[in-house]
Symmetry: C2
Subunit: 562 residues, 2 copies
C-alpha cells in the first residue's frame, strides 16, 4: 500500500497548521500544500504592527519563534511537507480524487492526486463597487503585498490625511498604526456605529468617544460614493453621501468574503452564510474533503446557529482538528463564541458570545449589566479603567455574552467570560470563580465578578438601573425627574451634565440631606463609575423612596457632550 | 420591633465589606463594627507597593477610588455603619447575645448586644521563636504600622543588605520592593524551595533561578536560629543552621495564623486547620454567629477538603455572602481554588487548584504538561515568555490545577484555568475555549490551549516527555543515552548542556541526518522551549525510533547550571 496522500489547498495559516499536525500524527503520509501566492505561512494579523513600525522587519512576519523563515524549504526540512507556491488549484475532480493545478510561473498544468483533500482557501477582502479604487494611494490590507505597498508610501514620510473605510477590527488597528506615524486619521463607516456586529451600540458609542478624544475622526452612517484623485492619479478625497473628506491615503477595510469558488465548482455544499459548510469534524459534504479557516462557517456555541466569523485563531485551532482527521483520527471542532479582541489608541477592546442586540434578535429575554472600574487596585500605578457589559439570560442566569473596553486589561476579563460561557456558566458561577488577586493584576473583587454581581443585584431587585443612552433619551424627551449627582463637589465642578434637573448631593451627605430629595419625582442617581450611585440608590430605597434608578457605568461611560 | 442589630468584630477588609453589603440589603439594620486598631478598611495588600514607593502616599491605602479616606466618619456618612475603633472585643456571651468590649483608650468596658454577630478577626503574622526579634531593624509586614516603620527605615536611604525570612508571597513581594530601592536582598526559607505549598518544586526551581539572575540570593532549606545585633541593638546578621548572612534590615514573613481565640473562648467550633469552621453560609457552629476572611477555613473546590488559605479576595467576596445572610438572605460561598498570584522582579507568577504534589498526596493519578512559549505573538514588541504547568486527572482528563510564571502575562492564563476548573472542565474543554486573539494579547493558539494540547498529545501517545529535573537525575546517574539538541547552531554555541552525551542535529537537518542518530540508545530530545524537540520526537518516531522522549519546557526552563 502506498503512502496516504494528503493535499492541502492554501498555504497561509490554516493549511500549514493542518499539514504540520498531520505530519506529526501520520509520519508516512505524503503531504502537499498548494499555494497560489509566493509567500506562505505568514502572520497576517501582524500587518498593522508592521505598518506602525512596531514590527521592525517584514521578515519577522514569516519567522518561527527561533528565527527560521517559514518558506518552502522550512516546510520540507522541518515538517516533511512539500509546498508548491505560485501554483493555483483550478478545480477538484472528486471522482478521480485529484486537484487540477496550474503553475503560475511556467503555465504548466497538471493533476495532483489525493486521498484526503483539505480546502484552506481563506478569504479575500470585500471591495465595495465604488469609483476611484485604482487611484494611487488607495490600498487594502489583507495580504503582505498590501502591507508592503502601504509601508512604502508611509516610509516616504509625507504624513498627511488618511481615510480608512470601515470601522471594523482591521480598520481600527490600521487607524492605530497610522496615528502612531502622526497621520491624521478619519474612519468612514456605513453602519451608524463603530465595530458593528462586534459591540453593542452603547459600548461602541463610549469607545468612539474615547477614540475621538485621542484624535480619530469618525464619519458614521455614511456611504462612500467614490474616491477622487488629481491629474496625476493620486487620491485626494473620499466622497460620501454626506460630504467630502480630504485624503492622501485611503485604506479600504470593509470586511472579507470567503473564497468558496473552488468548493462550489466541485459541488460541495455552501452554507447559508456563504461560506463552506462543514460538520464538527470539519468535513465538507464530501467525506474525503475537509475545509477550515476563513473559508468555512462555524457553529455559534451559544445560539447554535451557523455564523461566518473568520479569525486567525480558528484557522490555527482547526488545523489541529483537520490534521488529526486527515491522518485517520477523530477530532472535533465544536464551534465558536466569536470572541474578538483589539488594541487601538491605548484602548483594549474585547467581546465574546452574543451581544445584547444579537441575543434579543434571537429571541432571548436578557438581563444586562454594565460595570465600570479599575483593572487593578486604584493605588497601583499601572491601573486602568475597564467598562464591562455582561449579557445574561433572564430566568436561567446563563451568560450569553460579554463586551469590555478600556485602557485597563479588558481582554483578560473577556477570556475569563469566554471560558465561563464555554462551560455553560451562570452569573452565580462566574461570580464564584476564584480569580487571582494581587494589586498589580486585579482588584480584590475582579471586574468580571462585579459585572456578574450587578446582574445578581438587578435580578434580586436591589438595583434598578438606567443606561446612559436611556437617560439621554429621557432628558431629550423632557421627562420630569431629578438627576441626583452624588459625586464630590470638585468632581461636580469639573464636569457634569448641563441640565436643570441635575441636583448635587454628595454621597456622604445624603443621609442627613435626604429631605432635600423630592419624594414625588422619579430619581436617577449618577456618579463617576456607578458605584456611589448604587450606594445612594440603596440609601434612598431604605428611606422609602420608590422610583429610583442609578445610571450604570457612570459619567465616565457617558458618550455624549458634557 | 426594634431594628436588627448586626455587630461585626474586625474592621480591616472582611468586616467592612460585610457591613457595607448588609447595609445595602437591610436599610433598617443597626450595624456596628468593632476594631481594636486605630485604622480601618485598609489595603493591606498594598503595603509592599508603599515600601517600594509605587504607592506614593500612605493615605492611598485608605482611600476609595474617588479619593475619600475610609475612616469612621466615612462609614457613618456613606454607609450608615457605626465604627468603634481602638475597641477590643474581649468575649462573646452567646446566651445573652452580646459582645463584651473594652475601649483601649479610656479603659471603659461595656457590652454590645447583637442579633447577628460577625467574626472577622483576621490573622496575625506567625513569628518563629528565635532570639533577636527585638533588635532594631527587624520587622514584620502585616499591619500598616509595620509598613510605616520599614518605610521610615528605608527613607533614611542607608540601603545595604536586607534579609527576608520566608519565601512566600509576602516575602517575594517585599524582596521586589526592596530591590527596587537598590537594597541587596537575601531570602531565607525553611523549606527547600521558594513558594512552598504554592508552586511545585520543579516550577519553583525555575523561578528561583530567574530571580537569582535578577540579583536575589536564596538560602533554601535553612532554619533561622537567631538574629545577631551590635552593641547599639541594631541587627547585623541572620544566623541559620548552615551559616551567617549579614543583615541591616530583616523582614520576617513566614506566614500568618488565624485569630481564633475569641471564637474558641465562645465555644465555637475550630476546624482541623486551626481556623474557625464555617458552613457554606459562612455560619459558625452558632447559627447567629458568622465568620469570614483570614480567620476561617475554606473548602477546596477540587479536593473537597478543608484548607486554610487566607487571601484578601476571599475576605471581600465572603463579605457579600455574610452581608446577605446577616440581613436575612440566603447566600453561599462554596469554596476556593487557592488561586494565588504575585509579581516580583519583573516576573508574573500564578497558581490555582491543586499542585502536582498536592494532587498526588491526595491519591490522584495525574498527567501533567509543561508548556513554554510567548504570551503574545513573538513579533509583537511587548511579548514575554510564560512557562505553564497543567495538572490533570488521568482517565477523566479533568483539570486539577495550574501554575504559570514568566515575564509574560502568566496570570491571565491562571484566571482562565481557574474559571475552567470551577466549572469542572476537562483538558479537551479548556483547549476548545474561544479565547481572544490579537497580536498585542496572545498567540493564535494561546498558552493555556497549548498546555492543554500537550496533555492531549501525551494521553494520545504522541509525546513521551521528561522533565528537566528527571533529565538532570538521569545525567547525574550516568544513564546511557543520547541528548539530542535540535536547536540552531548559534543557539547551541551560545548555551548548552555540558555533557558528552549531548549531540547537536539542527531540526531542519534531522530528516537527512537521521542515520547519525543511534537506534540502540535512549534518546532525549531538547530544544529551547520544547516545541522543536516535540517536532523532532515525532520525526524520530515516524522513522521507527522507539525509545524517544522530549524535555518539556526546554532549556529555558532548565533550572541548573548551563
Amino acid at each position: 500500500m502506498s503512502a496516504q496522500k494528503i493535499v492541502i489547498i492554501g498555504g497561509v495559516a490554516a493549511g500549514p497548521k493542518a499539514a504540520a499536525r498531520a505530519r506529526r500524527v501520520a509520519p508516512d503520509a505524503e503531504i502537499t500544500i498548494i499555494e497560489k501566492g509566493k509567500l506562505i505561512s505568514y502572520a497576517g494579523c501582524g500587518m498593522p504592527f508592521y505598518l506602525s513600525g512596531e514590527v521592525s522587519k517584514f521578515d519577522h512576519l514569516f519567522e518561527t519563534t527561533y528565527g527560521v523563515i517559514r518558506n518552502e524549504e522550512y516546510f520540507w526540512r522541518e515538517k516533511g511537507c512539500r509546498v508548491l507556491t505560485q501554483t493555483e488549484a483550478r478545480s477538484i475532480d472528486r471522482e478521480k480524487k485529484e486537484v487540477h493545478v496550474e503553475n503560475l510561473v511556467t503555465g504548466e498544468k497538471y493533476a495532483v492526486p489525493y486521498d484526503k483533500l483539505v480546502i484552506a482557501t481563506g478569504a479575500d477582502p470585500f471591495v465595495p463597487p465604488i469609483e476611484g479604487l485604482n487611484l494611487k494611494g488607495v490600498y487594502k490590507l489583507n495580504h503582505p503585498d498590501d502591507a508592503q505597498k502601504i509601508k512604502e508610501y508611509l516610509d516616504k514620510g509625507e504624513g498627511g490625511e488618511a481615510v480608512i473605510v470601515g470601522a471594523g477590527f482591521i480598520g481600527l488597528e490600521t487607524a492605530d498604526a497610522l496615528m502612531k506615524l502622526h497621520m491624521f486619521c478619519s474612519v468612514v463607516e456605513l453602519q451608524d456605529q463603530i465595530l458593528p456586529g462586534v459591540l453593542d451600540a452603547d459600548m461602541a458609542e463610549v469607545l468612539a468617544k474615547k477614540l475621538t478624544e485621542q484624535g480619530i475622526e469618525f464619519y458614521l452612517g455614511q456611504k462612500v460614493l467614490k474616491l477622487e484623485g488629481d491629474e496625476e492619479g493620486n487620491v485626494t478625497a473620499v466622497v460620501t453621501d454626506q460630504g467630502t473628506i480630504d485624503a492622501e491615503l485611503v485604506v479600504v477595510s470593509v470586511g472579507v468574503r470567503p473564497n468558496v469558488e473552488l468548493a462550489r465548482q466541485a459541488g460541495l455544499t455552501i452554507g447559508e452564510t456563504g461560506a463552506i459548510a462543514v460538520n464538527e469534524h470539519l468535513q465538507t459534504s464530501d467525506p474525503d474533503i475537509y475545509a477550515l479557516g476563513d473559508c468555512v462557517e462555524n457553529t455559534h456555541l451559544v445560539s447554535g446557529k451557523k455564523v461566518y466569523v473568520p479569525l486567525a485563531t480558528y484557522a490555527n485551532r482547526q488545523g489541529r482538528v483537520v490534521g488529526d482527521n486527515v491522518a485517520g483520527g477523530d477530532s472535533v471542532f465544536r464551534g465558536i463564541l466569536a470572541t474578538g479582541v483589539l488594541h487601538s489608541m491605548g484602548f483594549n477592546i474585547g467581546r465574546t458570545g452574543l451581544s445584547e442586540k444579537q441575543a434579543r434578535d434571537l429571541g432571548y429575554n436578557v438581563v444586562t449589566s454594565l460595570y465600570h472600574g479599575f483593572d487593578r487596585t486604584h493605588y497601583h500605578p499601572e491601573h486602568g479603567m475597564v467598562l464591562m457589559k455582561l449579557v445574561t439570560e433572564e430566568g436561567t442566569g446563563k451568560i450569553l455574552g460579554a463586551q469590555a473596553l478600556g485602557q485597563g486589561d479588558a481582554v483578560k476579563r473577556i477570556d475569563v467570560t469566554a471560558t465561563a460561557i464555554t462551560m455553560g456558566a451562570t452569573v452565580e458561577q462566574l461570580a464564584e470563580v476564584d480569580l487571582g488577586y494581587a494589586p498589580p493584576f486585579s482588584t480584590p473583587i475582579d471586574v468580571s465578578t462585579h459585572a456578574a454581581n450587578i446582574v445578581r443585584n438587578k435580578v434580586a431587585g436591589l438595583a434598578e438601573t438606567i443606561t446612559p443612552r436611556e437617560l439621554k433619551q429621557k432628558m431629550d424627551r423632557g421627562d420630569d425627574m431629578v438627576i441626583l449627582d452624588v459625586r464630590t463637589e470638585p468632581q461636580f465642578k469639573m464636569r457634569r451634565l448641563k441640565d436643570n434637573r441635575v441636583k448635587l448631593v454628595v454621597l456622604g451627605d445624603l443621609r442627613e440631606k435626604i429631605d432635600e430629595v423630592p419624594r414625588d419625582k422619579e430619581i436617577v442617581v449618577i456618579c463617576a463609575l456607578g458605584t456611589r450611585s448604587y450606594e445612594a440608590l440603596r440609601t434612598l430605597k431604605g428611606a422609602g423612596f420608590e422610583d429610583v434608578k442609578y445610571m450604570e457605568g457612570g459619567l465616565q461611560a457617558w458618550p455624549y457632550q458634557l
